[in-house]
Amino acid sequence: MSLLDTLPEQSDDELRAQAIAALREVGLPNKKTEAWRFTSVKAIVERALPPAPTSLTPPHAEVVRFVGGHPVLPTTAHPGLTLSRVAQPTGFEVGEAFAALNTALFSDALVVQAKGVAERPLFVDHEAGAETAAYARLRVVLEANAELVLVERYRGRSALSDSVVEVVLGENAKLVHLRTHEDEGALVGTVSVRQARHSRYVSHALSFFGAPTRLDLRVRLEGEGAECSLDGIALVEGQTHSDHHVRVDHVAPRTTSHMRHRAVVSDRATSVFDGQAHVLPGAAGCEAHQHSRNLLLSEQATVHTKPHLEIHVDEVVASHGATVGALDADALFYLRARGISKRDAQTLLTYAFLQELVDAIAHPALRTAMRDALLSQLPGGELVRSLEDEALDFVEDHASEEEGA
């Protein structure tokens, strides 16, 4: 049996038919597939998990719910946004591998269209089933000058969640996209972004657990001056596995990409990071940066990291680098010698390692939520939270001194 056995014989829809044909020809990734070298999909692919049936799910007031991959629209309107469900994937991408499987099998997609600046973040919660596969499909289109904060949360314990998010950014549009992968089951996600002139895409992807978690994030900078900033955190423990594959294509001149990945790996867990930036012919004056830092908290933890650049023009500013290491023994001893327990000292230093990427989240409430999600996974995380929740400042003291003077 194979997951491919769940494909329909044929489809009247052209895109779905293309996806089915491609999958029949190429198949799903296996251990010989280069892009999946370090991530085993055997356990997922060998089971013919049926797509989750639609169920009657009560809508949430504000939040879009995807239950078993089926979108349930909120009851409250979001000013500046049009949310709709569509069954026909007109204008969608076919995709490859798991994205193609999603194209062939999703039932209803959620299409988000934004005009102007959305006042509130749009939350999308994914909940998948234990014995079925969830094929969630989102298409997010921002018109020129539109702005949106999109927060996706993947939760539960899925047999398989195979999602695709397509993002199309018009001129000067800006999307901030937060994703937390908190699903303890198998999670395969594709995000495909196309950017017009001077648009900005800011991504913060956070992966916990994973059996495995795989993110394929691909950005095409198609308009001059487009920028993307792609931050990823993997915090894995036990036997879990996180894999972030990120690729940016600099198609247009004077485009900019910043990629940062931080992994904290404990026990026998594994983190994979593959970051590619391709600066294509004609894309002069581009800037591409890729940095991967990895913290190993046990002898059995594994990291595979590969930031790489492919540059076809002369005039470009680029940097890339990767580091792998353990917690600094001197710093640990220093903290402990001041009275902080070993566990808390480790947590403090681990959080300090990740903090730069948490601080990069501009929206204060979302930053706090992301921090709390991270700290809930670290032993003794309450210490860090208690430290940060109360500002320590001399402001009052200056005031009293001035009064005295």
């Binding site: 402990r336 010698a337 001041r338 009275g339 902080i340 327990s341 959080y351 730069e356 009052e396």
Partner: protein, 252 residues
Amino acid sequence: MLSIQNLHVEVGGKPILKGLTLELNAGEVHAIMGPNGAGKSTLSYVLAGRDGYEVTDGSITFLGRDLLAMDVSERAAAGVFLGFQYPVAIPGVSNLHFVRAALNAQRKARGEAELSAAELMKLAREKGKLVELPADLMKRAVNDGFSGGEKKRNEIFQMAMFEPTLAVLDETDSGLDIDALRVVAAGVNALRSPERAMLVITHYQRLLDHIVPDYVHVLVDGRIVESGDKSLALRLEDEGYEKIRANVGAAS
């Protein structure tokens, strides 16, 4: 207060301390001087409980308790403070938050109430004055980008905040110019008290011009070979360690 008896310590299988005996009483300031490689820093690390320092013989008793049986953070809570020769920078952790976390961890371990933010700020302002530590250094990440002098002032600031029973100051004078040395020494002197003992470890006599010890001990090759009052430090400065080393060699 502190009783070190016949202490033998190995690092990576190599004997460093070879039968060190030392007694400190409350209110006393002892200086340990010695050439490089004599075991001065090893002594400070063993007192603080750093991993990798194996005690093969002897004992350390602190306030009647077996210090060697206590964990690193337990020793801090019990009142042992180590001023580091090379204070560690911890990017991402603000100095004040760090001091508060440490102080409250110590207080909690002792069964005392934790300090509120307001109480901490009041204390920090008061203690910061002792070593002229500016407010912006308190707010910055721990020792991150601090100059040598700022790091040492920060050590003494922390000591003032924690009010330890025993302060071990490891080469506090290293990396300090004369002005910074004066500030740091003044901070230390302000913290001298009848309830507190200090062990000042130094290579050079000049620190002892500012922090005048009650006793001076000379550590050579893992043992204390001579003890005296502050005049011993001056004599060492004149004669150098070579003469003492030669005497020790002749005697053994």
